[in-house]
Amino acid sequence: MINIHEVEETNQMIEKENLDVRTITMGISLLDCIDSDLATLKKNIHEKIYRCAKDLVRTGEEISRDFGIPIVNKRISVTPIALIGASACHSEADFVEIAKELDAVAKEVGVNFLGGYSALVSKGMTPADELLIRSIPEALAETDVLCSSVNLGSTKTGIDMDAVRLMGSIVKQTAERTKDAPLNACSKLVVFCNAPDDNPFMAGAFHGVTEGDVVLNVGVSGPGVVKKALESCHGQSFEVVCETVKRTAFKVTRVGQLVAREASKRLGQPFGIIDLSLAPTPAIGDSVADILCEMGLEQAGAPGTTAALALLNDQVKKGGLMASSYVGGLSGAFIPVSEDQGMINAAAAGALTIEKLEAMTCVCSVGLDMIAIPGDTKDTTIAGIIADEMALGMVNAKTTACRLIPVPGKGVGDTVEFGGLLGHAPIMPVNTFSCDEFVNRGGRIPAPVHSFKN
């Protein structure tokens, strides 16, 4: 039988260490909504999402009350819209129409975000893919809860450099288009290499075409819990550190597994995967950077940071994999700068640079995330940073991503406020040497050789 100490430990994690289930994300296939008439397509999309997700938020809240565990977000991901709109949309404006419909139905069912305004162009773009990509600035400016992602490369296909070049401009345009809005829409736009089909986290969530009709994916969190556990390991060897992280990740993941199973039962929809990511928030003590510091670094970004993060990421996976048979999504440690107070402090102190973050992305689960850069950064420079990040993912057969936020009218030394879970960020300096000729070549970078690993 459960004893009082175990109960206390669990409740301590929830109340003091910010343990929560970060998101229940319902993946909904829209393939059966496709129609060549735009009005019919919009109606089909609205009806299907409403029918599948109308009880999602209420069920999430009920589970939260029954177990006393916060479930912070309830979200929806849908099949990439470039596929769904391909036959009905003949202009960028047509795609924006779908974006508004998605935004409306997401608000109607009460979810925080809806992801899947996406295109998968790792080898090449169809005309529909290109239209969707070109519509992103307008679509994100005209909506509130819609998230967009573009997969630009993969280990099997290489990198579509035409799309990378285009996204450099799209990111810039998106920032310009929303420069007077309360939120810079680049915070809802991410590009990937090797994007997973079942990621429950925004902004990159979409419902892959290999998935079933409707599926529930759950993202757990808990950097605060890991940090607290490591506080008892001062001066101990790496073996003790690893064991502690693993045990903690196991416990956190088991809670996610329980919530996923319960949501699946109550909503009558199949459970997909648990994404066992350490996702920080701007709340004090809910920081991945603080974990790195707890391991013995003065600031995130100090020499040793990449090794510490590699260890953390690997142990989180090892602990979590035993706790759930279906682990997927991004699973690992997230290092978004603006959403992590420890990272913000490190960047402000000059300890953390984009180049160091790039190295860190080789061993963590995502990429250059929520990084504010000067508003006058050139399109081609943004494309160059994206290309570098995509190359890391392609060669190392892992998911990498870029969510860069050019801030119009601001430069290095300024800060930018995103609010809520998105936090705030100091604007980080970008290497200004030109890569124009390189990114303007056009074409693709071929897939890498899979042997001769050095």
């Binding site: 459960i2 009082i4 669990t10 029954d66 177990f67 006393g68 565990i69 416990k251 809670v255 329980l258």
Partner: protein, 92 residues
Amino acid sequence: MQERAIITVVGKDTVGIIAKVCTFLAKEQINILDISQTIVQGYFNMMMIVDVTNLGKPFGDMAEELAGMGQKEIGVQIKAQKEEIFDSMHRI
């Protein structure tokens, strides 16, 4: 099958905490299976394992009422959570 929950009470020790909680539970047809409690530096810390199979309302509603009573009438923090969250975390 028996449906079980864990009730925890944390706060400053005072007269009648257990009495009030037990009266509430009896009214809701909740059976107490086990109680353990400690007092650390004047702070009352109790855990109850209860059977909520015969509860006549949604579990979350009862949990909210109980928490409300704890706060208003006794001045302690009371949480009611279904047992599975602890089982999941601490038992393989």
